[in-house]
């Protein structure tokens, strides 16, 4: 399956303690016991996925509802990349 078609599921809000510091957001994961410092737009993508599993296109749609996102061709690729980064941290997983 192409990475963009993959559906992702986020760690639930109950599992995480999320703290916006400034441009960076500190996240404590109760399941892994690890602390992550996330730069934009990772926290926003994580939050968007918490309303339910989604693939890249659906995630982009949810983000557009809340944020002013440039209508650019490389947005999907960037979102897919971010989902990969979140997956490496264990904050999202393949649904």
């Amino acid at each position: 399956m192409p990475a963009a078609q993959q559906t992702w599921r986020a760690a639930s809000a109950a599992r995480l303690s999320v703290y916006t510091l400034d441009a960076l957001t500190a996240v404590y994961d109760r399941v892994s016991g690890q602390t992550h410092l996330l730069a934009q737009p990772l926290p926003e993508i994580l939050a968007a996925l918490q309303s339910g599993p989604a693939n890249t296109a659906e995630t982009a749609e949810r983000l557009t509802a809340d944020f002013d996102i440039a209508d650019s061709a490389d947005v999907p690729a960037r979102i897919t990349e971010c989902l990969g980064e979140l997956a490496a941290l264990g904050l999202v997983s393949q649904a």
Binding site: S17, Y19, L21, A23, L24, A26, Y28, R30, T35
Partner: protein, 288 residues
Amino acid sequence: MSHRHSFRVGPVRFRIASDWAGPIADLKRLYADYPALGGQAATATARIEAARPWRRWIRPAVHISGDYTIPDALPLPLSQGLLATEMAMNLQVALGWRQHLLLHASAVERDGRAIIMVGASGSGKSTLAAMLGEGDWRLLGDEFAMLNPVDGQLSPFPRLISLKNESIETMARRVPPARLGPVITGTPKGTIRHLVPRADAIARMDECAMPALLLFPTFGGEAGLRAVPPSEAFMRLTDSSTNYVALGEPGFAALTKLVRDVPAVAIGYASGEQGVAAVEALWAELAP
């Protein structure tokens, strides 16, 4: 081990044993005003012992040990026995203490509000804390700042201050000789001399203080101030903590709250006097 001493520093109850009389005699003199354990349990055991049994007599080499040990640590010569004891005590706290978030920092207090000074060794945080502690401030600690994850307060941990090289002379001019330990030469960090904190710091070791300012000092740097964003402060504090990873969520909660509630400033200063003046000016600006 026939030479022993025990006493309390803030929340930590130390029990110390040595193969030699000298370091314990130094400890008994320098920690004379600290409370005894009074029948309570020691929560940290530190030992300094001969690297091999015969090394106690021939070319004595002091091995740092206790509840926790660093297996490959090189022994120190007996002439540095007091330093070895202090290092052994630090090691037990750094590796064994779980009741507070430990920051490798010095801290001082005035009117119930505290400054936490975080920096690598050589940043001058010890000297700055020592100088402030001789002025209008109460010294909370030199080596570790202990942050209580439950209420966000700092618990004083007023151990001996380890003065290095030039700062020895600076402080020796200001305090009576009875408050100074022996001069220890030839250590990896140069010459070291221990300073007993002022009487108020010891007498009030159970009075906690609320953090009001996070300071990242750099000695010898360009004089000036820079506001440190919370995320940078968070990163630098986790780096300077010996037990952040071990504490889990309480550590996370305490540290995020600290960097949110307390302003953080990096200061550069070229001399101790300049550093003290900068801290006073900053404090005046922050005054509620």
